[in-house]
């Protein structure tokens, strides 16, 4: 069963067409070129992870600067403007450049393995998503250069992570900061939508035989729901950003009051995206937890269909509650009531997940390994965050809480206690699979406890701060308002949390090089990704597995003879088919993304006037970038999605001489 080989171009049997030099397939297996041209979902996932963790540290340092400023009343660590830049970039970075790509890393790496596929449906599109994400990240952060070199008007974005109009207009933010923000998010949107379309097709179409939808691992299910959320919610912000961009550059009046525009429209469009976005951040995390808890309880997930259904339900309801971020905008009674009730309703499917996780553990045998610790930490912390969410949903009470530190407490509990805890758990859980090494239990648990304590010390007091009236996004506060102690504790907590994260990373890096080596399936796993050797070979599965049960690998382990017999037959069939089909590497996705980077920088960093006579930098670079992208896409489509065949020896190593067979696939 070779699923990637289908779309070959040729109508004449296996003869090779003359291939111009430009379309020669890159073959580097190591070195920089191999990374730039890779289409292997595992390498792409790894790169996503590396970039995401880097930006997590960047966002973390920004957070620490925030906390340093607020440690004492009337702090002077940062100037007002720098502080505003800091929280804007902290929020934007953490959400778009840390949590989302880290989830994408797992989608890429783990999901194809869980459904028994050899790659995603469109490997080159996948590479394009990755590099476009990097381009977006660069554009978003390029404004930092301005203050460093003292260039006026070029600073990092500073209008808050939801950039409410009309503060973002040319009139009120004349510099380039908002341009970077708009273009950066726009590129990230392109990347996310492209990646998600790919995941949707992969999950629906590339499942191994027998892997019905109701047998998909929950993580894969949540990947699917998340991908749908991305595909359906990002358009809203894309259009909103286009409108804002036009207002700033072409004089349109979408949000200009002088022309009759209504700035409130921006808020609606942003949150139509923004609320699904927060579920985009949490659903993958819930998926990870739904993998870890059963494994370490040594029991199947309790109430699988309901967990899956509630995940989809959360996703769907998530589109109907956006205005709960706007309870203070005077929507009128009926609208407020409707959105308040819809918001409360989301607590039900979310609660279902919590109950089922507890049900999973009930009667199990809990192996308190590090991933399990993080997973349990998730359940506790997410619950607290969820409860403060429900408190927000009571609209009149929320008018006191919104834009105060109570909100900050709420969403850090769901984002760190939720998303980040789960992602850190996931790294621990799948580390042996990715690198064949296991993190030391002692150091892993130590980092967990420091993070856990630091996190609670940081954010629990913020509930009290919020109720005590401390507004968010304030670079300073007076000492007579009763906020000093709580702020001090929170800042200390943030540094403890920082140390915890530093320990976590140090341990990971150490383990990567020197950690204890482990064999296949170290946790006694239940899903297919554990059935392959670690680190996984390029082709993933020697033979595409046939799935008989929800916990596919658990079933395999309990029915070894049956599976072995099946495998032998399937392997023969596959070999008769021409071997394992592998897609060629390609530089064109990278090339196309690079063009987008040129567009991104060209259209934002330059003024719209002819600064050097004869050279219109803004227009010129944008057009040039567009051209580069077009050329990239053109060659990408001309080169076609051909591939080569691998033949394996007994140990699963590719047989020499066959490995580079450029024969196009034909079935």
């Amino acid at each position: 069963m070779d699923t990637t080989a289908k779309t070959a171009y040729l109508t004449k049997e296996d003869a090779v067409p003359a291939q111009p030099k430009l379309l020669a397939h890159p073959t580097a297996k190591t070195g920089l070129m191999s990374w730039l041209t890779t289409v292997d979902h595992k390498r792409i996932g790894f790169l996503y992870g590396v970039f995401a963790l880097f930006f997590f540290l960047v966002g973390g340092v920004e957070a620490l600067l925030i906390r340093a400023q607020l440690m004492y009343p009337n702090g002077t660590v940062l100037s007002a403007q720098m502080y505003n830049t800091m929280f804007t970039m902290h929020g934007t970075t953490m959400i778009f450049l840390a949590v989302m790509p880290l989830s994408a890393a797992f989608f890429n790496y783990i999901m194809p393995l869980q459904i028994g596929a050899r790659d995603v449906a469109f490997p080159r599109l996948n590479a394009f998503s990755l590099w476009t994400f990097v381009a977006g990240a660069i554009v978003l952060n390029i404004g930092w250069i301005g203050p460093i070199f003292g260039v006026d008007g070029h600073n990092a974005p500073d209008a808050g992570w939801y950039g409410y109009s009309p503060l973002t207009s040319r009139q009120f933010t004349p510099g380039h900061s908002v341009d970077y923000w708009v273009m950066g998010l726009q590129l990230l949107g392109v990347a996310s939508i492209a990646a998600s379309l790919n995941f949707i097709v992969t999950i629906i179409n590339m499942r191994a035989p027998g892997m019905t939808m109701m047998r998909l691992p929950v993580f894969t299910w949540m990947t699917l729901v998340t991908a749908f959320l991305i595909v359906l919610s990002f358009p809203a912000i894309t259009i909103a950003l286009v409108e804002l961009m036009m207002d700033r550059n072409f004089g349109t009046v979408f949000f200009e009051v002088s022309g009759g525009g209504m700035p409130i429209l921006w808020q609606h469009l942003f949150w139509v995206f923004g609320h699904p976005e927060v579920y985009i951040l949490i659903l993958p995390a819930m998926g990870i937890i739904s993998e870890i808890l059963p494994t370490f309880s040594r029991k199947p997930l309790f109430g699988y269909p309901i967990v899956v259904f509630s995940g989809a339900c959360i996703g769907f309801l998530g589109f109907a509650v956006w205005s709960h971020h706007m309870f203070t905008t005077g929507m009128g009674t009926v609208a407020t009531a409707a959105f308040a009730l819809a918001t409360m309703a989301i607590a039900v499917p979310t609660g279902v997940k919590i109950f089922n996780w507890i049900g999973t553990m009930w009667g199990g045998r809990l192996m308190m390994r590090t991933p399990m610790m993080f997973a349990l930490g998730f359940v506790w912390m997410f619950m607290i965050g969820g409860f403060s969410g429900v408190m927000h949903s009571a609209a009149p009470a929320d008018t006191q809480q919104s834009d105060s530190y109570f909100v900050i407490a709420h969403f850090h509990y769901v984002l760190i206690g939720g998303s980040i805890f789960a992602l850190l758990a996931g790294i621990h859980y799948w580390f042996p699979l990715m690198f064949g090494r296991k993190v030391s239990e002692f150091w892993g648990k130590l980092s967990f406890w420091i993070i856990f304590v630091g996190f609670n010390v940081t954010f629990f007091p913020m509930h009290f701060l919020g109720l005590n009236g401390m507004p968010r996004r304030t670079f300073t506060y007076d000492p007579n308002l009763g906020w000093n102690t709580a702020n001090f504790i929170a800042s200390i907590g943030a540094f403890v949390l920082g140390i915890g994260i530093a320990v976590y990373f140090a341990v990971m890096i150490y383990t990567y090089y020197k950690g204890e080596k482990v064999g296949r399936d170290p946790w006694d796993g239940r899903t297919l990704e554990w059935s392959i050797p670690n680190p996984p070979p390029e082709y993933n599965f020697r033979v595409i597995p046939t799935v008989h049960d929800r916990d596919a690998f658990w079933y395999e382990k309990n029915n070894r003879e049956q599976i072995a017999a099946e495998r032998a037959v399937a392997e023969k069939a596959e070999e008769a088919h021409g071997g394992i089909h592998m897609p060629f590497n390609s530089i064109w996705p990278f090339f196309a993304s690079f063009g987008l980077l040129i567009v991104g920088i060209g259209s934002t960093a330059f003024e719209a006037k002819w600064d050097v006579p004869g050279i219109h930098w803004k227009l010129g670079l944008s057009l040039l970038g567009g051209l580069v992208t077009l050329v990239g896409i053109y060659f990408w489509s001309l080169e076609g999605n051909e591939g080569y065949h691998l033949h394996l020896d007994k140990d699963g190593k590719p047989v020499k001489g066959h490995g580079d067979d450029h024969g196009p696939a034909k079935h």
Binding site: T11, P17, A18, N205, F234, T252
Partner: protein, 285 residues
């Protein structure tokens, strides 16, 4: 282009290599179109919100729009959808020639639509004094219809490249120059399209400014001489590039590529159906 034994077994409604039997590309396209609904939904919502609550003293769309032109381009777009559907059926039967002709016709209709839109925009701006920035109506109208126009333009580009792609030499051919050949072909075709657009607009303009038809033709030929010559040269080049050069790597197996492109094209059409009603017709009530 005759279909041979291997491709006779291609079933365009079922792809056995995928779990659902739906080809990957088709699924990708449908998922993208679901997303596209949201893109246009938000744009249309923006427009309608501002139409329902127009600023005082804003422009009256009835005084700006002209139903005749819009109806004509709507009709043209519908016909292009028909041609697109025919192109898909043709290639599904392995009929490359017929597919090419249908593609060309689709491109042609698409260009007419774009031409009408360019004309409409410049008419609104110059004669009706509605610009992108001088009124909320202009802002939302141009952005919405312009975004749709961009979709059409991308579609035309895609169709053009697909048309050129259908000349990629087939297996066994030793034409090492096919890449440059293809690129030049694409360029010639695009140049032709662009020049046609310019020439047509020039003609309309000439008819508008000159009192008699004869004078208009004279004016037109004088003003657009270079463009006309260029267009002729481009069409010549296209014909030359399209000359038969042996078997091509394009056939029934590529039906899915054409089909997913077709899906995109039809969505451009249905979005226009909605825009036509919501943006234009409703204003006349």
């Amino acid at each position: 282009m005759s279909s041979h034994a291997a491709s006779a077994s291609i079933d365009h409604h079922h792809d056995p290599s995928t779990s659902t039997g739906i080809p990957n590309k088709k699924l990708l396209m449908w998922a993208f179109l679901a997303s596209d609904c949201m893109f246009f939904g938000v744009l249309i919502a923006t427009h309608l919100v501002y139409r329902l609550h127009p600023p005082a003293g804003g422009l009256d769309p009835k005084a700006v729009f002209s139903v005749e032109l819009t109806s004509f381009s709507t009709f043209i777009l519908l016909m292009s959808s028909l041609m697109m559907a025919l192109a898909v059926t043709a290639i599904q039967k392995g009929n490359v020639r017929s597919c090419r002709w249908s593609l060309l016709t689709t491109i042609f209709f698409g260009m007419i639509f774009l031409g009408c839109q360019v004309y409409e925009f410049q008419h609104f701006v110059v004669d009706k004094k509605m610009t992108l920035s001088n009124s909320l109506l202009g802002t939302t109208f141009y952005t919405l219809t312009g975004t749709h126009g961009c979709h059409v333009a991308i579609g035309v580009l895609w169709l053009t490249l697909m048309y050129v792609r259908s000349f990629k030499p087939g297996a066994g051919s030793a034409q090492r120059t096919w890449l440059s050949h293809q690129s030049l072909h694409a360029l010639a075709l695009l140049a032709f399209l662009g020049l046609c657009l310019k020439v047509t607009l020039g003609l309309v303009h000439a008819i508008q400014v000159e009192p008699t038809f004869g004078a208009a033709v004279g004016h037109f030929v004088k003003a657009e001489f270079l463009a006309l010559a260029g267009a002729l040269a481009a069409v010549g080049a296209c014909v030359w590039f399209a000359r038969p050069r042996g078997p091509v790597a394009f056939g029934e197996a590529n039906a899915i590529d054409v089909e997913s492109m077709g899906l995109y094209w039809h969505v451009v059409d249905i979005v226009w159906i909605v825009i036509f009603t919501a943006v234009y017709l409703l204003e006349y009530l």
